[in-house]
């Protein structure tokens, strides 16, 4: 979801994605950088993203640029809305519980 969201903002290659996610989360989410790649492959396989080889403008290296597909955007929106609802639900459960626990 995070990857898809990042890619919706702008297509990027793997390293840039990691950078982006780390920055956006203020380094709160520290994951193994490599674990990005199996995830990317899964997204590729389910055709939520597509990839193309291009030469990076900043480093002049040949990199694989990932781009979100229409199906990817659709999937992301669906996921986000269900995630929001879940979050809402969690808050509604936890909210009153806290109040009773700490009067």
């Amino acid at each position: 979801m995070m990857i898809l969201e990042s890619l919706r903002r702008q297509p990027a290659h793997g390293y840039a994605l990691v950078q982006h996610i780390q920055q956006r989360s203020n380094n709160l989410l520290q994951v193994e950088e490599g674990s990005l790649y199996p995830a990317l492959q899964r997204l590729l396989k389910s055709k939520l993203v597509k990839a193309e080889w291009a030469v990076s403008t900043s480093t002049n290296r040949r990199v694989r640029i990932y781009e979100i597909t229409k199906a990817g955007i659709h999937h992301l929106e669906h996921e986000l809305s269900s995630f929001d609802r879940m979050l809402e639900g969690i808050q509604m459960v936890l909210g009153p519980a806290r109040r009773t626990a700490n009067p």
Binding site: V18, E33, G34, S35, Y37, P38, Q41, R42
Partner: protein, 897 residues
């Protein structure tokens, strides 16, 4: 990316992945160098730390794309093919063994399936029954006739009065002369009554079926053609429907054509014509027709039997053999219906032979599998080090076992493919040689069922021979690697399974060999039977029919036949000629009746005797010896002189000896009948095996070619088999001369079924020789496989024990002792196998009893000779490697240490 790309373009995928990861790490390294002022080396370390396990992640990324099962199976396959290519000798041996084993089984299964299991090619064929009758009271009848055929009056009585049949009818096969087309020719005619076609239920291909009107006496003279004859004679021209052909000098109109593959029960025919019986003129007698019927749905055979039993008295009430005769005379015959399914009737006892063959071929496959298992064991043993290394590196037990079984299945399936090809070839060969007595031969084909069977068989046998090494070696992981190749002696554990396999092989080979030897002995016994004719290869037989419509006067018929005999005798190289109504082993029924001996009184009826009508010179041409008295003469025949010749067994039975029979008198009725003379025995002839050498020779009464009886008037058979003795018999040139000679007597006479007596004789031995050949092949395969098995085990033992032998030799063991040591172990295994095999063989031989002739199933010769052969073979097979063992140089043997 399609799955195809995924599987086969994996290289590219992996390249892209690793490049991507490399770029990532480099970028991170550079960033770390820039931001934190680290050296390249330190930065790279840090970058790698942050990244995680590169290899693992790469594999995980890859696995996203993998269809795991398929991939690992493909990997296994690749590996297996590589290994098989590297051991061409092994692969070839295994594949050949399997292909032959599976192919033979597929072929025999196809035959069994087509003959025994497939329904007959008629709709709802499980309701079609053959109307057979038993008549235990008709003394002697069972000697040469299977059951009692139906008479025309029975057909009317049954079809009018039954309550259980949807339709029923009678039929018989006949020969007729067809003229009016190019050359006169003799055709096979299926004569049928109304109800026969309805019973078969097969619609015609073109035109219409014979209608009720066609079956009426004096009805239109219509016929139908078979598909084969229509193709052969008219090139499949549909406009022949409506055309007129001349059959036995009568014009007949073709009204329809039956479809391809349609046969009348088990007979091919050319033309199908109605009997057109006149109901009111039918006597009780005239038992010469086959009956078939279609049961009403839901009716059982028992109910139908009861129904027919009820109509038999009605039959005797409604018909008569003529004024003054007792129509209930047949009560004494105790006629009872014995209906059975038509398929049962057609298949007959061939099931016996087929099951024996199927069983033996199955055993051969088992032996082949055992041999392959043995080879696989050897290979697995050679791979022990590799396997234990793999096990140590973490390959699961299941994974190794899977690979081994997988290898077997691959071998099995390839073997199965080749086997199918072998089966297809074998079946084509089988159909082309067409063994007699194998019914439904035309229906045999390699169909889906047989292909499925072959597939299942391939997989089953590969699982069998694959699971033995797989079970053994995947299990022994823990114990393996310590020994490596330095094992000094063969451990018991390791050899036990191979020894068991050899014992099993020997036992199975023994069973097959015993069966084969029993068949050989049967064949010998049959060959030793004097058939009643000599030098069958020099005897040419042709059948000539002179129908009523062609020449009505019997005396003229005999004159014409006499003329033909004279013309035939004038052909260069012909030493003698004659003709008879029935030739030996022709497979058709024969005429028969009661015969009364002068001066004897009978409690019931006298036994029924086989009748044959012969010309002067026939017995001489055949080579049947006259034991006493003389042959008939033409003069006697034309003068209707009341003379008879009897077979030797008849003479012995009635008067004690051949000589005593001369001058004795016989006749067909018990009381004096006006116009019926006593017939005097003028000759006694050697017994002739008319029903095949495997059957007892019937007691025969030979009548002259022309006789006069009060019932039939002057009578001669209308169809005779002419027999010529010449050393040119069987050649086409000779046959042409025969044809010319016959035509020079009368240009409208066709010559039919030219055969040499040798062909007829061989055909009568066909069942035995067919079984013999198949068993022989199976047994020799089993013997060869058994020898290879023993050889393999012993030579493997020798190679494993090289070091031990070296030590023994160094310590002063004698070479002969060493040799004996190995031969002895082989003989011990063989001995156990023989003991087990003898027990099994006794059981199998009992099942074979019906196929044997003149040999007991427990024939001591067979049961003594075969173990000796096997023991000798085993000794020989083990001697070669044992010899090699004894020649080992102790220095060489121990050098490896």
């Amino acid at each position: 990316m399609s799955w195809f790309d995924r599987v086969f373009r994996r290289g590219q995928l992996e390249g892209e992945l690793s490049e991507e990861l490399r770029v990532h790490i480099e970028e991170r390294t550079e960033q770390l160098m820039r931001l934190e002022n680290l050296s390249r080396e330190e930065a790279r370390q840090a970058a790698l730390r942050a990244f995680g396990n590169v290899t693992l992640l790469q594999q995980k990324s890859r696995e996203v794309w993998q269809w795991f099962w398929l991939e690992s199976i493909l990997a296994d396959l690749k590996f297996i093919f590589r290994r098989l290519r590297k051991a061409p000798g092994f692969s070839l041996t295994v594949l050949l063994t399997l292909a032959i084993g599976i192919g033979a089984n597929a072929a025999v299964f196809t035959v069994v399936n087509s003959v025994l299991f497939k329904p007959l090619p008629y709709p709802d064929s499980d309701r079609i029954v053959s109307l057979s009758l038993n008549a235990p009271g008709a003394a002697g009848l069972a000697n040469f006739q299977k059951g009692l055929p139906l008479s025309a009056s029975m057909y009317f009585a049954f079809s009018e009065n039954n309550r259980t049949f949807q339709s029923l009818g009678i039929w018989s096969m006949n020969k007729a002369n067809l003229t009016g087309l190019a050359q006169p020719e003799q055709v096979n005619v299926a004569l049928i009554t109304d109800g026969v076609l309805e019973t078969f239920g097969v619609p015609p291909l073109a035109g219409r079926e014979l209608s009720v009107a066609d079956h009426a006496p004096n009805g239109p003279k219509n016929v139908m053609l078979s598909y084969g004859y229509w193709q052969r004679r008219f090139g499949g021209d549909r406009s022949v429907v409506g055309r007129t052909i001349i059959i036995d000098s009568r014009a007949r109109t073709i009204v329809g054509i039956m479809p391809r593959g349609f046969r009348v029960v088990d007979h091919d025919f050319d033309v199908m014509a109605p009997f057109a019986f006149e109901r009111n003129k039918q006597p009780l007698a005239g038992f010469g027709f086959q009956g078939i019927g279609r049961l009403k749905p839901g009716v059982t055979i028992q109910q139908a039997n009861a129904d027919i039993a009820r109509t038999i008295p009605i039959w005797m009430d409604s018909f008569s053999n003529g004024p003054g005769s007792d129509s209930h005379w047949y009560v004494k015959w105790r006629i009872t219906p014995d209906l059975h399914l038509l398929k049962q009737e057609i298949v007959g006892n061939v099931g016996n032979v087929l099951w024996v063959v199927m069983g033996t071929i199955g055993i051969v496959l088992l032996i082949a599998c055992v041999n392959v298992a043995n080879l696989m064991l050897v290979r697995a043993e050679a791979r022990q080090v590799e396997l234990s290394v793999r096990a140590a590196l973490g390959a699961g037990r299941g994974r190794i076992a899977r690979e081994m079984i997988f290898e077997s299945v691959v071998l099995g399936l390839i073997g199965g493919v080749f086997g199918t090809a072998i089966a297809a070839l074998g079946l084509r060969f089988l159909v082309s040689i067409g063994p007699a007595n194998l019914p439904r031969l035309q229906e045999i084909s390699l169909d889906r069922g047989s292909i499925l069977f072959t597939l299942a068989l391939s997989v089953a046998s590969s699982l069998f021979f694959g699971s033995i090494p797989a079970w053994k070696y995947s299990r022994s992981n823990a114990t393996v690697s310590r020994g490596t190749t330095r094992t000094s002696g063969a451990t018991r554990e390791r050899n036990r399974s191979r020894n068991i396999l050899v014992v099993a092989q020997v036992a199975m080979a023994l069973v097959l060999l015993v069966c084969a030897v029993l068949m050989i002995r049967t064949f010998q016994q049959l060959r030793m039977v004097e058939p009643g004719f000599t030098d069958p290869a020099d005897l040419q037989t042709v059948r000539i029919a002179i129908p009523e419509s062609f020449l009505s006067d019997s005396r003229m018929v005999v004159r014409l036949e006499n003329n033909v005999v004279d013309k035939l005798a004038a052909i260069p190289g012909v030493t003698s000629v004659g003709f008879a109504q029935t030739g030996p082993m022709e497979g058709d029924g024969h005429g028969w009746n009661l015969i009364y001996v002068e001066g004897k009184t009978y409690a019931g009826d006298p036994p029924i005797r086989f009748y044959n009508y012969i010309s002067p010179g026939y017995l001489h041409a055949l080579g049947a010896r006259l034991i006493a008295g003389r042959d008939f003469t033409w003069q006697g025949a034309y003068n209707l002189r009341p003379e008879l010749i009897v077979s030797e067994n008849l003479a012995r039975e009635e008067w004690g000896s051949a000589g005593a029979a001369i001058g004795k008198r016989l006749r067909e009725t018990p009381r004096e009948t006006p116009g019926e003379p006593w017939y005097e025995v003028v000759g006694v002839v050697q017994d002739v095996h008319y029903d095949g050498v495997g059957e007892a020779a019937p007691a025969v009464v030979y009548w002259p070619a022309l006789i006069h009886s009060p019932w039939m008037g002057t009578y001669t058979p209308r169809s005779s088999v002419f027999t010529l003795r010449s050393n040119r018999a069987g050649t086409q040139a000779f046959l042409n001369e025969v044809q010319q000679a016959v035509w020079s007597a009368n240009a409208d006479l066709p010559v039919a079924s030219p055969r040499t007596m040798q062909e007829i004789y061989s055909k009568s031995l066909a069942r035995t020789s067919f079984t013999l050949v198949l068993l022989g092949i199976a047994a020799s395969m089993a013997l060869a496989l058994g020898i290879i098995g023993i050889y393999g085990v012993i030579s493997y033992a020798v190679s494993r024990r090289t070091r031990e032998i070296g030590i023994r030799l160094a310590l002063g063991a004698q070479k002969s002792e060493l040799r004996w040591m190995f031969v002895r172990s082989a003989l011990a295994l063989t001995g156990i196998g023989i003991v087990i095999g003898l027990g099994a063989a006794a059981g199998v031989a009992r099942l074979m009893g019906a196929l044997l002739f003149g040999v007991s199933p427990f024939d001591p010769v067979s049961f003594a000779a075969v173990p000796l052969i096997l023991a000798a073979a085993a000794a020989l097979a083990s001697f070669l490697p044992a010899h090699r063992a004894a020649d080992i140089n102790p220095v060489d043997a121990l050098k490896g240490e």
